[in-house]
């Protein structure tokens, strides 16, 4: 099962904690909002991803399965 991290852009208010906790996939734009690398999260990074998700003060991050996702219209 492959995962990637997705951000809810309305919920995100730019606390910037996620980029500290999960720099492997999350960088910040010029205004402090997360830019998510859509690459699948390798199993060794999953723990870091979870920590970033739990650490988000507004809960604007979540894991999304890639494998089972059908192409959206």
């Amino acid at each position: 099962m492959k995962y990637r991290i997705v951000v809810d852009p309305i919920g995100c208010v730019g606390h910037r904690i996620c980029a500290d906790l999960f720099p492997e996939r999350i960088t910040l734009d010029d205004w402090g909002y997360p830019i998510i690398d859509p690459k699948p999260i390798t199993p060794n990074l999953l723990e870091h991803a979870r920590r970033a998700i739990d650490g988000c003060p507004t809960l604007a991050l979540r894991l999304e399965k890639i494998a089972t996702e059908r192409s959206r219209k």
Binding site: G11, H15, R16, I17, D20, D54, G55, P57, T58, L59
Partner: protein, 235 residues
């Protein structure tokens, strides 16, 4: 068991209960301020955001440990007729009903805050946030409980601890109010009013109540006082 041993263990319980109560107040203050620091996006090179957020969480969890000791020692101590149930259901105990009950309320609030925070991801942000607003009520309620049950309220070290804690909490809360968006003007002014009114009422109450001589004696009607060992003096 000799009577000295009984006196000593009862004394130990008594000191443990008082001590953990004070520690809880200090930790609550720390958690309160750290929570606001987290919201206000403070960070330095040495103190990144996630460290401060983790501290807020860990300090909050630490409160529960000290709170547990506080409750257990209070219940086990035979001096006051307090039961475990009194730690959950407020205003049931015949012993200092109101002031102990407030402690129970604060305890329940803390448990609610902790549980909702632990299952935050599943709960969703809006529900968690709604519950977490109660943190602002938890601190003053806990303080009133501490002063009202009042074994140490008149000690000068206690006065200084309370004044210092109150000052920190007021500064933190005032700072938080400045970050309220202009669209929530009513919330902002309501919070500012509460920030002035609540401490003023509390100070007035403290002067007329717990800081008056004989406050802690005024509750004594229980016959269990006959078992009070001399060494513990006034309670």
């Amino acid at each position: 068991m000799t009577s000295t041993a009984a006196v000593t263990s009862s004394q130990a319980l008594w000191f443990a209960s008082r001590g953990t109560g004070v520690v809880c107040l200090l930790l609550l203050t720390a958690s309160f301020v750290l929570g606001i620091v987290t919201t206000m996006r403070v960070e330095t090179r040495g103190w990144p955001r996630f460290i401060l957020a983790a501290m807020h969480r860990n300090v909050s969890l630490l409160i529960l440990i000290f709170l547990a000791v506080h409750i257990v020692t209070t219940v086990v101590d035979a001096f006051a007729p307090i039961h475990y149930l009194d730690a959950i259901i407020p205003f049931q105990s015949p012993y200092r009903t109101v002031w102990l009950g407030l402690g129970t309320v604060a305890c329940d609030l803390l448990i609610a805050l902790t549980i909702t925070s632990l299952i935050r991801v599943r709960l969703g942000y809006s529900v968690w946030r709604a519950v977490h607003w109660l943190a602002y009520a938890c601190w003053p309620i806990a303080l009133v409980h501490g002063l009202g049950t009042g074994s140490d309220a008149q000690a000068s070290w206690m006065t200084w601890l309370v004044v210092a804690s109150l000052a920190m909490v007021l500064v933190a809360a005032g700072w938080r109010i400045t970050a309220t968006p202009a669209s929530q003007n009513r919330v902002r002014w309501g919070a500012a009013a509460a920030l002035v009114i609540v401490p003023v009422v509390m100070l007035w109450w403290a002067r007329t109540g717990p800081l008056q001589p004989g406050w802690s004696h005024s509750f004594r009607k229980s016959p269990t006082t006959s078992t009070v060992p001399q060494a513990t003096g006034t309670r």
